[in-house]
Assembly symmetry: C2
């Protein structure tokens, strides 16, 4: 049986909120993320549970079943592949593609996804550095550091972002920080934890804690 646009969105969001360790997701958290009311979420959870896509006991929160996880990962694969297409082929900025990919991710057709993947050269990461699940549904989150965990003097490689908000991404653009940038932490301000960071051996700039918390990096 085929899942609806809405069902796919719930599964995707449960996957995201559930995290790597598959922790229970609350009704309210889902209401927040789906921009609906808790009562509507309860309706949908009953439906998803009936279809065997989630584990649901009243008042206890939900987790994905294996079958629900499979669906969620397929949606994520499609979302991230379309984002690569939009940026690499159509020339969109990384701050512009989320909403469009949000629509494209629900286009059904296995063969479309596989042909798109091949056309794009089987990319491993999307324009925000998020890993793209393979055709079999294997999704391995690389264990990056957050910039706040980097010590003064260390040089790291910019690998991804946690916040995908256009305003955040545009801020990075204005700072000259993109995927692959080399960041050297020069100084950390004791008072507000802001950092002085040298970008690609060039200009040094101040990065607020808020920004640091959303930058995923890799040592060396």
């Amino acid at each position: 049986m085929q899942n609806s646009f809405t069902e796919e969105n719930y599964l995707k969001i449960i996957h995201a909120l559930s995290g790597r360790d598959g922790v229970e997701v609350s009704t309210n958290a889902l209401a927040e993320s789906t921009s609906t009311r808790a009562a509507s979420v309860t309706d949908m959870l009953r439906k998803l549970a009936d279809k065997g896509l989630i584990h649901y006991k009243k008042y206890q929160g939900v987790t994905l079943t294996d079958s629900g996880e499979k669906v969620a990962i397929k949606v994520i694969r499609k979302h991230r592949l379309w984002e690569v297409f939009l940026v690499e082929k159509l020339g969109f900025g990384w701050d512009e593609v989320h909403d469009i990919a949000e629509e494209l991710e629900h286009i059904p057709s296995e063969v479309l996804v596989e042909k798109l993947d091949a056309f794009l050269g089987h990319p491993k990461f999307d324009p925000h550095g998020d890993p793209i699940p393979d055709a079999k549904g294997n999704l391995t989150e690389p264990d990056y550091l957050i910039l706040t965990d980097v010590h003064v003097g260390e040089k790291v490689l910019m690998m991804g972002v946690l916040d995908h908000a256009p305003s955040f991404l545009q801020h990075l653009d204005r700072s000259g920080i993109t995927l692959g940038s080399v960041l050297e932490v020069r100084e950390i301000n004791e008072y507000d934890k802001s950092a002085s960071v040298q970008i690609n051996g060039g200009p040094t700039l101040f990065i607020s804690l808020e920004v640091s918390k959303n930058l995923l990096v890799q040592r060396r």
Copy 2:
């Protein structure tokens, strides 16, 4: 205001059934084309009329208003551009793309369409030879002949198909007939109007009236 997936489909189908001269389309014809019942069509027509997208008087059939025409042509533009993408970039066959394009055509975003158009090199025709409306909504149907109107001895260029059914397109593939093929009518059978046609100066084959009726060609 934004039109729904379903509304867009009705407008697109009314456009198709209405033809160049904008003739009235009947409720039953729409029921047939949308795979719904006449009663459902009536409901939708009232809604589209309320939105000013169609001219509708009870029992009299419908035509598009200027505003409805605009929406229909935008959908057609998207459908045909996505078909070009699927065939030219992803390597689908012309017999495989209709259903996928049927989904993609409803993805909203003006800028997506324009970037896609540019990426594809502003194509004028889709993989079935149908003209692609430009960004301003100008759609000029070229006046092709149907193969049945071609006389014995004439050489024509294969420009498009009227039937988009996969089985028909696959039949053409097997016959070696594609867009751009040169067809020379050698003989027309008086009895069943089947034709002997030489393809690209090579093999000559028999083409039934049913097939001839669906081939759009141009004198050269």
